[in-house]
Point group: C2
Chain length 502, copies 2
């Protein structure tokens, strides 16, 4: 037993060091995307690449393998939580040893370059400028996928980096179910007699007041501002961990709903990070389960909670205090219809809750075809536009800025990431149904500005478990069933039937 | 030769990695002192300690020693600049190998804790609260000094970390020379009939306008804002390197001169960092020579240039554009007398140019006695107050906030650092005399807002050389003589005789 214990402690202390290096990398990236001066990018890319290399080098050290092997042989003698840490560290270590360090550093370095080119190409709406860099990125992640191994398609290996136990086949099934409900629903809404009046959302909303409202909501829902920040960036994101979780917003002075729901979305991510166990911090037990489950928390707050009648029963009067003239003619009904307005459009991050999944499905299917060799980089702009037209009925212009160039992900090598967004929607609805069963007066609480019971439920059923269970085990314990679209499709149908009186 | 070349390249690439890790540490510290949320400090201290350990571990790797030894055997065959890099890397490596890694990490960790306690103790004016942490810090730096080795006193080993080739004996001599001139000068000024009217400096100066003026001056003197930033912190500082140099300011709405001269001071540091050679970046050839020479650049801009009649001939009308009512009654003569007002006082960072050195000398002599075993930690508050009274004629209250608790340095383990400030004054005057000899119309240029020739001279004679030469070699080349107080004491005498018509 003393051997077992000292081995376990050494393993944890080595793993924690890797986590600390990862947290430094996260801060460097936050800084790069918020406040770094333009000429800092070259050195920043050196810093990021070196740290990625050091973290990889430590994670792949033979000593970690040795410790894991020794512990696995007697794993049954350890407490179940320690067994879970060993299982998850082995999962990470297995992935790490398969990818050589030079590829890790090359990927990190090319991410910095490729991101910079993407920013410029997008500003100029020039896909050809981006294409060779994207080509190289795809070659690098393909090499990564070959190193990691897969059964059906290289994309499976990449998906597994974000969503363990998911594959192209799994997502294809889930997404076919979503399409079968949401595509006809979008059509029905287009034909519905009810139309929303959104004029008041295009008035002048000073940014400082938007920020103040955002901060008010953050505090109300439980974001601890002594352990986090709200800043500005071109692409909103959440980064950091317990003690220092930072979210960013992008403000549009003539569309306040963008920053408001953006801030609530990122706060949902932040509440997950602020809700992990402190006593196991730096180990898998205090890490988010997967990108999809992370996304379930952001979408829970952004959509299930913050687009509801209950939420705005409480907050609309408060929003009107800050913007009395702008919102003078906005009744609660009118406001709810406006912020839930369904309108097929071109830009994912501005899409409404219902059409959002269709944007994801377009990207997923393109990635699937790309990695199956059915599409090449030069085909992407046209393939993109064709699919958007098929699923959403709108036609993007040729310039790419509102099409294939709009998302940051591919420039960062994040292929296989998009499906996590929709998985988040699915899981969020499933949690929401369970929360409503457990707390029948939840809507009433929210309508009076009380969010603590909702947060306590999420802390107890999601945040506190970290990577203790697999995704399906967690869902089973929290909601009584594994991942499935039933609750989500019911939620969508009920919500929009009610709003648009279908 | 091919061996020599590949050895040199490997050495440089290893050294550059250590420098990259150091630059990451610098950013983490900048973040900690400007924007980090309060609950982030525990994890930040883990991050800093781990990176300090990694950098130390790499710098002390046997491979670096091997490479240095191989290169030193054939050093004569290499170009002189490469010889200089080898010499300086050996200097760093020798220091690094003497200090064990656990002490490096313990120091880093205790710095974070000790700094936090100091902040609280200072706020509460409670020296007893700080004392045990200071005691531990002194024990740690004493251990460090013992590892490093010294001839006369442990303080020599610590001074050498900031100012190579300086010792307690060297500073004692320089400071005795300064005291012999500045102490009587301060007395004469106190008796002079001319009194400055500073009322207009205590009016209401909105912070945003102060910041705007600061940025205007930064741009005028050559600070590249695409490769740097200006932010806010409790203690103004400069950090970062080429491409991303960040300075901070502290604003007092009723004392604009504090932020103005603070910004110019930190900009002087920043201009040094922005002025190093890009082609050798990451090697000693592109690193600042010493803390004292760094300080010569900040004091050059803050005092020699920005407290001069020429400077305000150009900038006072511009300052008046931003603050027309506040400065309505401030003539150039009145303004110059006000910003150069000599007044013995308690706080170093608010001291005038003439009495500043006396604050340094107090600290130096206390450190000297502390490390010679003539003072213990519990003696410090009284010893401090007695010396301040001796040299400045003012009596600090007992609470310590305006006495021994005022400076951040000791909480960060920075003993032996203070003398660098005065060394900066000495060297700055020496450079300034040389600049005036080389460019007799320099004052005229400055009076029209032209700073490019001054900056070009500093770039060519100081910044571009990095650690190529020793301090005395650099001064010899740039000014025709080694370090000495003659120019400085002449400058002080002339300046104050003129201002106060002594």
């Amino acid at each position: 037993m003393p051997d077992l214990e000292s081995n376990y402690n050494e393993l944890i202390s080595r793993y924690k060091e890797v986590a600390v290096i990862g947290s430094v990398n996260g801060l460097l990236q936050w800084d790069m995307q918020t406040i770094m001066p333009p000429k800092g990018s070259e050195r920043r890319s050196d810093q990021l690449a070196l740290l990625a290399g050091i973290a990889h080098n430590r994670m792949t050290s033979p000593r970690i393998d040795e410790l894991l092997t020794a512990l696995e042989a007697h794993s049954g003698e350890l407490p179940p939580e320690e067994q879970a840490n060993i299982r998850e560290i082995r999962r990470d270590q297995k992935k790490a040893v398969k990818v050589p360090q030079d590829l890790v550093e090359e990927l990190s370095r090319h991410e910095s370059v490729c991101h910079e080119v993407w920013v410029k190409a997008r500003a100029k709406a020039d896909f050809d400028m981006f294409a060779p860099y994207l080509e190289k990125m795809i070659a690098l992640v393909r090499r990564q996928a070959e190193c990691l191994g897969y059964k059906d398609t290289p994309l499976d290996a990449l998906i597994d980096l974000f969503e363990p136990d998911a594959t192209v086949a799994v997502f294809t099934k889930l997404f076919d179910e979503i399409k079968s409900v949401s595509v006809p629903l979008v059509r029905k809404i287009a034909d519905a007699p009810i139309k929303s009046d959104r004029a008041f959302l295009h008035r002048d909303y000073p940014i400082e007041l938007q920020r103040r409202f955002g901060e008010q909501v953050m505090k109300s829902i439980g974001f601890d501002l002594d352990g986090g920040r709200l800043d500005v960036s071109v692409h909103p994101f959440c980064s950091g961990g317990l003690g220092d979780v930072r979210i960013t917003a992008r403000y549009n002075p003539n569309a306040p709903q963008q920053a408001i729901f953006g801030i609530i979305h990122e706060s949902g991510h932040a509440l997950y990070e602020q809700g992990v166990r402190a006593d196991t911090f730096g180990t898998p037990l205090s890490e988010a389960l997967s990108y999809g489950i992370h996304e379930s928390q952001s979408r829970m707050w952004e959509n299930l909670i913050a687009r509801s009648r209950a939420f705005w029963t409480f907050f609309l009067p408060r929003l009107k205090e800050l913007f009395p003239t702008q919102l003078a003619d906005a009744s609660l009904d009118k406001f709810l219809l406006a912020i839930n307005h369904v309108q097929p459009s071109l830009i994912r991050v501005e899409a409404d809750e219902l059409t959002y999944d269709l944007h994801i499905i377009v990207r997923f299917e393109i990635e699937r075809d790309l990695f199956a060799g059915k599409l090449s980089v030069s085909d992407l702009p046209r393939a993109w536009n064709r699919k958007i037209e098929d699923y959403l009925g709108v036609v993007p212009p040729d310039n790419g800025r509102e099409g294939v160039l709009q998302d940051v992900h591919w420039s960062g090598g994040m292929f296989g990431y998009f499906p996590s967004y929709s998985l988040g929607n699915i899981a969020a609805s499933q949690f929401w149904s369970a929360m409503k069963r457990a707390m029948p007066d939840l809507d009433k609480q929210i309508a009076t500005g009380k969010f603590s019971d909702a947060l306590t439920w999420l802390r107890a059923n999601v945040h506190q478990h970290g990577r203790r269970w697999s995704r399906d085990e967690l869902l089973q314990k929290a909601t009584g069933k594994p991942l499935g679209t039933a609750d989500y499709l019911q939620y969508l149908t009920d919500k929009y039937s009610d709003l648009y009186r279908l």
